[in-house]
Symmetry: C2
Subunit: 209 residues, 2 copies
DNA sequence: TTTTCTTCTTAACCAAGATTAAGTTTTTTG
DNA sequence: CAAAAAACTTAATCTTGGTTAAGAAGAAAA
């Protein structure tokens, strides 16, 4: 009886922790419960406090990272010490330096927590095993990469063709929940302007009304 | 005897036409000859003359496009009529509007030929069949998408953090063969400056020496 | 609570890159 | 080959956005 309760508890905790990832997989492919359990057996879980680092420039990314609560960000620091944000990762998103992940070479990105955050990690080597054991997972990550690719294509075009104010408006439209939470400074580092200029821009826009 | 010659001829032509694509696949996964033949049976071939369009803004991308000779480019045109180049595709590269390809909705990109170009086309619906028949192909396209993703991440960081002159130098280092062939105007549209400014910049750099 | 750190704002000045325009060279096409 | 169309250059002027600096306001930490 006690064992039964403990088993249920374990399942329940696992469901809490890994539910979001399994749901995300289920959205694109269907896998058996045995497959799910196999995958879960290779996952690890981690908490990251606000402002704590997950990766620094020069680290080799040996894990795929999936956010289940809170929010991470990836960014580079240029030679003048300014941050340029590549991506925010709210719950349900993956984050990482693909170049480093693929080639297993030192990355150029920093990743830290915008907020207290919980993540799921998969080791790159385990991911290879998952592909071998459950070929359908190749499809899941193909679809994931293709979607991310579409997002980056769009963002690059925006950066090439739109003035700062429109890039800001696009950001607010695309990530309304982030706009509320993030300090302005970080939105500026994402759209590619200085915090001073963003402030000036918003002041002007407000004055017009 | 005649039939034998014709068969060989057909194989030879097919090798000429589809060789680069099959090689590219073989670099990442190994498939049987039967699989190769199946894939080839779903491919089509097309020549595109310099300056001819393959897609325009608003078109739905129903094919994946692989370049075997020449060079294509994808770009958007902003409200002032200026071109912003997302990608060049020399031989061995894929090109397309991922957003449009995935969601089968009108795209925002133009694709035309920088030079007389030969391409291989795969219909999106046939691609689904290929995935079903040869699951390994999911891996091939996963790897492809992941590599492209890494490239876009890098380019976006560069655009956010580097001044125009360094973006130009990066372009020359990364695509030396393109730098020779392309009109300066198009390099400008890729790195995100006006042709006038690129000209001024290069004049200054030359004067220094 | 008080102190400290971070963020936000404002403003004056500065610089990278855009715009306009005109002339020159190169490439394409009839 | 001549004519037309692109592409390249140069220069003057303008604009977007950066830099510097300093104070105000919030948030975090002690």
């Amino acid at each position: 009886m006690l064992i039964f309760v403990l088993l249920n508890l374990k399942l329940y905790l696992s469901e809490m922790t890994y539910g979001l990832l399994l749901q995300s997989i289920a959205k694109h492919i269907s896998i058996t419960e045995a497959d799910e359990q196999y995958i879960v057996s290779l996952l690890s879980y981690k908490k990251i406090k606000r402002k704590q680092f997950l990766f620094r420039e020069g680290d080799v990314h040996k894990h795929a990272v999936f956010v289940t609560s809170g929010c991470l960000r990836s960014y580079s620091i240029d030679k003048n010490g300014f941050e340029h944000i590549l991506q925010f990762a709210p719950p349900g998103w993956w984050i990482g330096d693909m170049q480093s992940m693929i080639k297993q070479e030192p990355g150029m990105l920093y990743i830290d927590a915008v907020d207290d955050t919980e993540i799921i990690l998969i080791q790159k080597t385990d991911l290879q095993d998952i592909y071998a054991a459950i070929p359908k997972m190749e499809r899941f990550f193909r679809i994931l990469a293709e979607n991310a690719l579409a997002t980056y294509q769009h963002r690059l075009i925006d950066n090439l063709s739109l003035p700062a104010i429109e890039r800001y408006q696009n950001f607010c439209r695309q990530y309304p929940s982030l706009t509320e939470i993030l300090p302005q400074k970080q939105v500026a580092a994402y759209i590619g302007v200085t915090p001073e200029f963003l402030s000036k821009m918003l002041g002007k826009a407000a004055a017009k009304k």
